[in-house]
Amino acid sequence: MEFAAEEGKSFSSDSHTLLLPALSIGNVGQLAIDLLISSLRATKVGYLDEPSVLPCVGNDAFAPVPQGDLSLSLEAYESPMHGLALIQQRSPIIKGMMVSFARNMAEFIHSIGKKHVLVLSSLDSGRRKQIDASSDLQIYYVSSVSDDGSNPDCENLGWKKLDEYDSSQRRWKYLDSLAGGVSPADEELLTDEEELTESGYYASMPFSALFSCLKAQGLKVTCLLCYCSEGDNISDSFQLAHAACKFVGLNPEKFHGNEGGWMIPFSWKSVYGPPPDMSLF
């Protein structure tokens, strides 16, 4: 993974926590990162070039009046006053290269000296086993702090550990082997039947690859997850971004002293395309 810094820019040692989206249903992690970059008024540090990420380019996604500042597939931002660095990913991964991407990303994050990574992702509501009145608002997590994935700090915030995380399950162990760069022995190779288990399914998701690879680099990593369905996922992104702020001790109402509040990215005005042609009616 190559990194090209913007002129005169470099990562600050004050930005000890890095936020990163994992590709997921509804693009919720990516939307949450967009919202955080915009609201924190984070500045671009540079661009990342990764072979496994499909290319895309666009105009500035955040400026109120875009002046043609180029946006690329993978970009790094920073808000030293909030102690945060952020990486935004705007395009998919080439099929079959998710673990390779996660490994390269973890190596990069380790190389720039970040100690704690927050991975933001969503989960498919169709996979949820239990639904109750508060299900839509519940945040789930997986943490590297303990072997079972639990973290008292997250529990104190009212979040639930993802039950389907089981580090002893074959798919999770297989993923940990891949993350460590170890080729699993033949008898450890996966079978299709394992995919049918819930734990096996969650181990196949991009946030799991990032979790395993970041752990393998010795980084502290916390995945924040929320269930959603495909559709207008703006509200889900608010929920996830708000959870990230709670975790790092930020109050969205006071992002900038006595001023704050969420700042909608300019590019969101057209995120779901134009409204329907009213001449039809």
Binding site: E2, F266, K269, Y272, P275
Partner: protein, 245 residues
């Protein structure tokens, strides 16, 4: 779940394989390679990806074939000995008084292979400036887009935006925020940005629209396009989008 009307999912959606850590990757392919004779050192590289830009390039006078970029998986069978506008090739021509390299991309480069092709091209030709002509894809454009309307936008690298010199694409608005370009044109611009090269991506809609903009850009870079005929279509270069109420 696939979209019920078409296999291609809407832009915000993923196929299951897109989100599967254990999906099987395609077998690796041999790297693309450039054959150049002689090795150029152009100031300007013009890459024609859109059909209309390739057609204009083909009709430009006084150009000399000096190289080709090969993708091993693209069969050359059926190509004539003399380059034509319709063969499956990625030919490079030298032209113009300003030491220009013209590249006509006449085969489809998959998104997965586009990065390798871009690095091969930029690394081999080593231009000081790049101009790419590509088409807007409807699924990547977030504004209202009509098939009978002509649009033209541009994206520029930081080096290009800082350079206010004569050799730039003027009279074309920036692509509206929220819309994106992908594929080979996007990754060539990405490579230019990463390497600090002046670069511009000119994106037009529909595939065969925007001839006046394209001719204007070619003319601005010193090419004689006066004899190139084409439908005169009114070009709209607008950044206003219909917004959700």
């Amino acid at each position: 779940m696939d979209d019920v009307l078409t296999e291609t999912p809407p832009p915000s959606r993923f196929f299951d394989d897109d989100l599967d850590n254990f999906a099987i990757a395609s077998p690796p392919l041999p790297s693309p390679f450039l054959l150049l004779n002689p090795n150029p050192k152009p100031n300007l590289l013009i890459v024609a990806i859109s059909p209309l830009s390739r057609s204009i390039l083909h009709h430009l006078p006084s150009k000399t074939l000096f190289g080709s970029l090969f993708l091993p998986e693209i069969a050359l069978s059926g190509n004539p000995l003399v380059p034509s506008a319709n063969d499956k090739s990625f030919n490079l021509y030298s032209a113009g008084n300003q030491n220009t390299c013209l590249a006509s991309v006449q085969y489809n480069v998959s998104p997965e292979r586009s990065r390798a092709v871009a690095k091969c091209l930029i690394g081999g030709v080593k231009p000081d400036q790049v101009v790419i002509f590509d088409c807007i894809k409807s699924q990547n454009y977030r504004g209202r887009i009509e098939v009978d309307e002509t649009l033209a936008f541009k994206l520029e690298t930081k080096q290009q935006r800082l350079d206010k010199g004569n050799l730039s694409v003027s009279g074309v608005d920036y692509l509206p925020s929220g819309s994106v370009m992908d594929g080979l044109g996007a990754v060539i611009l990405t490579e230019s940005q990463m390497k600090g090269i002046k670069g511009t991506l000119v994106a037009t809609w529909p595939e065969n629209g925007g001839i006046e903009v394209l001719k204007m850009v070619f003319k601005n870079f010193g090419f004689d396009v006066g004899r190139i005929e084409g439908g005169v279509s009114k070009v709209t270069s607008r950044a206003d989008l219909d917004l959700y109420i």
